[in-house]
Amino acid sequence: MIVELRHIQKSYEAASGIPVLKDGNVAIEEGEFVAILGKSGSGKTTLLNIIGGLDRDFKGEAIVAGRNLQKMGDRALSRFRNETIAFIFQTFNLLPHLTCRENVAFPAYFAGNAANRAEVAQRAQEAMERVGIEHKAASVPGRLSGGERQRVAIARAIFQKPRILLADEPTGNLDSVSGRHVLDLFMELNREDGMTCMLVTHDEQLAKMASRIVRIADGQVVGEERPA
């Protein structure tokens, strides 16, 4: 079990007490491709942030890649995000002042290992080749199309060879063709590299690509299914 969430409770305004996640229980095996399906505002992103170690302010137990996230300090958690988790966002979240190559290699700044310059460049190159964006290495994200940007973001995500890929509506800002490409990439990474993928979406069609669909509504898991 690479992700194990038990009785996760989360509310943003402690005072109001209205929980965003009421009783989140999710268990994911290593190598699975899981789609989290739910309406906008149902708590999908919140769930993903908890799994990715970006949000520690919740109740319940989250064990990811064998680590109890709530018991980790800022340093350990940051390192965990750097090495184990890869985030893909709907809005790409590239750094606009850096070239694509620099964006891809950016996690190296916060890495614990002492990789040298050449090694970093080499790995960035590999990651870009992997997603087929190496020809845009020297451009800044502003000059790229949405699909290209998302591929740069995926290259950055896999730069550190993470175990878990958390994609939050990665195709939301893309046309259907580029969306399709991005999804193919995920499936390839899942299949060939054994990367565990969690795909958050409100699109039923997309969710069907996953090996398992977890339905979420009002902060609760309301059902699970395995598409044929």
Partner: protein
């Protein structure tokens, strides 16, 4: 996060946010510039001006005195005599001590046409005396330093070793014959009491009150207290009056003796220790004492410092001194009625003095009216005199200025002891005019007058104010072993109840004022930097708001809170560095402009320095460090806020 990676991220951010960066650095630049500029100015005034007027390593002290019911009485713990000098020399931080004696009687200077036009000018004279031996060394160093090479090297290059001379007349003006070679006059070596060095073969050459002993004119005396402090009065044995000079033979000894320096403690440069006269056989190592000399090869046990034999031989050659024209002094001075000029020609370097001491009822021969050869009184000038000279010459007299102090070296002037514009002459003392010769420069010399070897002042004081007129030094100049001993020596002086001279306490005051000025500029700069820091806080808060998404991305990619904090603090360090560099550069540029404007629009004045500014690397580093500190303070709060931001929130909102 590794330091090199941090630097890379910081540089990326600075490159992107150039506008904010420059904007934040401007305040720091202004603060550092104010600090750097005014510190350099204050230090410049201190180094370039103050230290030249009041040398840092010299303190002049006077006997402390208290005013009790209108009468000044001294309450000194350290006597201003030789014992006091010995006491002070033992104190830590004290390098050398130059006792000073002031003139206590009226005198005037006359300066000739060389500098002041045909008529010359006469003005009231002030002078003091410093120990010749102590000052000579300093004068020598100064003269050789200004000459570039050592004097000897230069002359050898010019004449070769072969060049021979007998006396200065074989040589060009400005040279003297030393060791058979024409050499440039070493003016520093002239700073000594010349009384002992008038060469003679017999009495006729010596001044009234002087007798010829060991080929030199020596003061005649009846007892020790008629000689200079260090001298002893030696009276020769005699059998009849004819054996002796004036006064005759009294009880087996000449009633008149001569003053000699005992050699104990060594002789000054250029002098050697030789046996003097004997009184009885007991004074001789072997054989009897005959006419003051030890017979049968015996040596007198009393040793005296006299000029080296070699020099005595050249200078003391009577053929060279005694000329053929009795009754006329060579310098054309008319011989007063009844007198004769013993010397027709004086050796080069000396001059014919027609004045003599006049003491009615004295047992000394009255030689009034006879000329005699005298060495000019060697005097040392304070470089300040030169500055004032230049100011007077340049503006008042409309004459060319003197380039270097050396222009004045060898310059002659006159001093008339006993004459004044304000006072009547001293009763029974004829005013006496003497020649003076400028032989060097020292910042220990009197600022508004000249400094002579102390013996001249001592003698003249005794003559015009009576014996014992100068039993105590008027002041002592303490030369510090190094400038940093100043506080320690000041504390010591306080403890021993020794007062600073007016000049030294002025210098102290000025130094304090400059210190206060630096403190004020420091506070001013701190205020500006503090405002700059607040400005940085504002700018950074804005930047953090702009970059909050980016901070979230960095956190998602593995940045710790500390990483985020360090990135912002790193940017502020860069701002401080840049502000420090630009501030110091700006201050330097402004100082150049200020110097240029000062040169152009402020007229010449004494002690005008080439630059009013003194930049020190230490201050540059200190001000930059200061700038970095203030930018760090300004960035501290925003950096913390950035570190505490919730990444999940920044990434989802918007």
């Amino acid at each position: 996060m590794k330091a090199s990676r941090l630097v890379a991220v910081v540089l990326q951010n600075v490159r992107r946010n150039r506008k904010n960066f420059v904007f934040s650095a401007i305040g720091i630049t202004v603060g550092v510039c104010v600090f750097s500029f005014f510190t350099a100015l204050t230090m410049g005034v201190r180094v370039e001006v103050l230290n030249r007027i009041y040398p840092v390593d010299l303190i002049e002290v006077e006997p402390a005195s208290v005013n009790i019911a209108g009468t000044k009485s001294s309450i000194e713990k350290v006597p201003f005599r030789e014992e006091g000098v010995t006491m002070l020399l033992k104190e830590p931080g004290v390098g050398r001590i130059f006792p000073k004696l002031r003139s206590r009687f009226q005198a005037t200077y006359r300066m000739g046409g060389q500098l002041f036009g045909q008529d010359g000018i006469t003005f009231e004279a002030y002078f003091d005396g410093l120990d010749g031996g102590l000052l000579r060394r300093e004068l020598k160093e100064g003269e050789e330093l200004r000459a570039g090479k050592s004097v000897k090297d230069r002359l050898e290059a010019r004449y070769g070793r072969e060049h021979r001379c007998y006396d200065a007349e074989d040589c060009s003006p400005g040279e003297e014959c030393r060791e058979g070679l024409c050499q440039k006059v070493e003016y520093w070596s002239l700073f000594r009491d010349w009384r002992e060095y008038i060469p003679c073969r017999d009495e006729s050459i010596c001044a009234a009150g002087y007798g010829c002993r060991y080929e030199q004119c020596r003061a005649l005396c009846k007892a020790d207290d008629e000689c200079l402090a260090e001298e002893t009065c030696l009276r020769s044995p005699c059998t009849k009056d004819e054996d002796c000079g004036p006064g005759g033979c009294v009880a087996g000894r000449c009633s008149t003796g001569a003053c000699f320096f005992p050699c104990e403690g060594g002789c000054p440069a250029g002098q050697e220790c030789i046996p003097a006269v004997c009184l009885t056989a007991a004074d001789c190592s072997d054989g009897p004492c005959y006419e003051g000399q030890c017979a049968l090869g015996g040596t007198c046990t009393f040793m005296s410092c006299v000029q080296r034999r070699k020099e005595r031989e050249v200078l003391g050659n009577p053929d060279m001194i005694r000329g053929e024209r009795p009754g006329l002094c060579d310098d054309g001075t008319p011989v007063p009625e009844g007198g004769t000029c013993v010397l027709a020609r004086c050796p080069v370097g000396s001059y014919c003095s027609v004045h003599t001491y006049f003491k009615p009822g004295s047992l000394w021969r009255d030689k009034r009216g006879e000329g005699r050869c005298e060495q000019p009184i060697p005097v040392v000038l304070n470089p300040i005199v030169m500055e004032i000279f230049n100011m007077v010459l340049g503006s008042t007299l409309d004459r060319a200025q003197l380039g270097t102090v050396d222009t004045l070296l060898g310059y002659g002037a006159y001093v008339t002891f006993g004459h004044s514009f304000y006072k009547d002459p001293v009763k029974d003392r004829t005013p006496v005019q003497k020649h003076m010769l400028v032989v060097g420069f020292s910042n220990k010399a009197l600022e508004a007058g000249v400094t002579m070897p102390m013996a001249y002042v001592d003698r003249a004081n005794s003559r015009y104010k009576g014996k014992g007129a100068s039993q105590e030094y008027d002041s002592m100049i303490i030369q510090l072993a190094a400038a940093e001993h100043l506080p320690a020596v000041m504390a010591m002086l306080d403890r021993l109840n020794i007062q600073l001279s007016r000049r030294s306490s002025e210098a102290e005051k000025f130094r304090t004022i400059l210190l206060v000025a630096i403190a004020i500029f420091f506070i001013m700069a701190s205020i500006i930097l503090a405002i700059a820091a607040v400005n940085i806080t504002h700018t950074f808060l804005m930047v953090i708001y702009e970059r909050n998404k980016e901070i979230g991305i960095q956190r998602a990619l593995g940045a710790t809170k500390m990483d985020i904090r360090l990135i912002f603090l790193g940017e502020s360090v860069l701002i401080g560095l840049a502000g420090g560099a630009m501030g110091n550069g700006l201050a330097y540029g402004l100082s150049q402009i200020a110097d240029f404007l000062a040169n152009r629009y402020i007229g010449d004045f004494p002690f005008q320095p080439d630059t009013f500014f003194h930049f020190e690397l230490l201050w540059v580093f200190a001000s930059t460090g200061f700038a970095i500190f203030f930018s760090l303070v300004g960035a501290f709060f925003p950096a913390n806020r950035a570190a505490r931001m919730d990444p999940a929130r920044t990434l989802t909102v918007g």
